[in-house]
């Protein structure tokens, strides 16, 4: 459903993505790993048009993201995104954070949107905080609300950009638990993360990026047992040993 063909991305003169060729299929859970600055976020942000690709072809459900007819809001409402720093709306309650887009974009009536939102809050175990403001929540709670906000659009796919990197260690587990549940229910997910336990448990594939390139794209088992690339091996031993 998502296809990168020879995608290049420049920030000014800086070459951030180099000849990216990747396919993400429906129902797949793909974990993307790689050193900081390797272009993982940029690749992810190209998918929902937060970054514009410089050349190549990026197809989202067979729609060319660069074609004139493609409307980004249409693409975005089918693809949820969960950010490292949650990006909840601080001036809205938990419930309002979740119902905003369904009401404004999907034109749901408020009562139906609230009912749906409560269902998703229950799923991420945050229903009791529905009337709180984000500032009253811990990082792990905020991230679970952010996941519910993504789910509320009933997207075909969820993108996660280091969803646990800003969390205290004791909160990571709760967020990962929710993500694993989603993965097992068949949600299509692309997850940038350094959580190798999560990767080996639920990922179908692992993509390893370095310096703007995809160096490896393998089935999870293969990747962990026999990483093809020396740099992937080094990276793995670094993050697993620390």
């Amino acid at each position: 459903m998502i296809e990168f063909k020879h995608v290049e991305k420049y920030f000014g003169a800086f070459h951030a993505l180099k000849d990216i060729n990747l396919t993400f299929n429906k129902g797949e859970v793909v974990v993307v790993i790689g050193p900081s600055g390797s272009g993982k976020s940029t690749m992810l942000r190209c998918i929902n048009g937060l970054e514009e690709i410089s050349s190549g072809i990026l197809l989202i459900n067979d729609l060319d993201i660069r074609s004139k007819e493609t409307r980004l809001p249409e693409i975005r409402k089918n693809i949820g995104m969960v950010f490292q720093h949650f990006n909840l709306y601080p001036h809205k309650t938990v419930l309002e954070n979740i119902t905003l887009a369904p009401i404004k974009v999907l034109k749901k009536d408020e009562a139906a949107a609230i009912k749906e939102a409560e269902k998703f809050l229950n799923k991420v175990d945050m229903l009791d905080k529905k009337d709180s403001y984000p500032s009253q929540l811990s990082g792990g709670q905020k991230q679970r609300v952010a996941i519910a906000r993504g789910l509320a659009m009933n997207p075909q796919m969820l993108l996660f950009d280091e969803p646990t990197s800003a969390l205290d260690p004791e909160m990571i587990g709760d967020v990962l638990k929710v993500m694993k549940k989603l993965a097992k229910e068949g949600m299509s997910m692309i997850v940038v993360t350094h959580e190798m336990g999560f990767a080996s448990e639920v990922a179908d594939r692992v993509v390893f990026m370095d310096s703007g390139q995809v160096l490896e794209d393998s089935e999870t088992q293969t990747f962990f047992d026999h990483p093809k690339e020396e740099r992937a091996r080094q990276f793995l031993s670094k993050i697993i040993n620390h």
Partner: protein
Amino acid sequence: MDFLGAFSWINIRFLLQGLLITVEVAAASIVLSFLIGGFAGLIRFIKIPYLSKIVGIVIDVIRNLPLLLIIFFTYFALPQIGIRFDIFWSSVAALTIFESAMLSEIIRAGLNAVPKGQMEAGLSTGLNFSQTMSIVVFPQAFKAMVPAIVSQFISLIKDTSLAVIISLPELTHNAKIIYGQNSNYVLPMFIAMTVLYFIVCYILSLVSKFLESRQYNY
């Protein structure tokens, strides 16, 4: 000395008429400069090629001119190129030009202070740009901007007194006429102006406090 004579019914009425002009000029300028300044601030915030740069330069020029010069400009210079306002609207035009430039900077700074992730979060849920601006970004920016905007409006009210130079019959002008007729009235008129300017500006600062307290308690 005849201090109390300064506050004859006729003089008080004359002062209050001046105050009314002050408030009218200020109110018209506040509304116009909020619209124009808001628009200019938005243009600078969303960085439209060329346009945002040009607007930025114009704003910088205006912000670095004395307001008095702008008042002269709208009253004496504009008629020379065929744009003619009466004294009232010349004053409003001058104040609007000046305050729009000041406000646009406040508004731009307020918008810039909202973390980029807020815009990205709104867009990535499928909201379009204007929905994200109006529902997500602007309310957060506004909360931070209220004190600066209100203090700008308070200076605007005080700045209306500069229009005395083109004989706008506002508070300072009328007070000047009264003490011009009797030098015993100088002190009473200064007291009267102090009290009246204070009351108007203080009311505005109460509005600011109300707006701030009414904002979501997040």
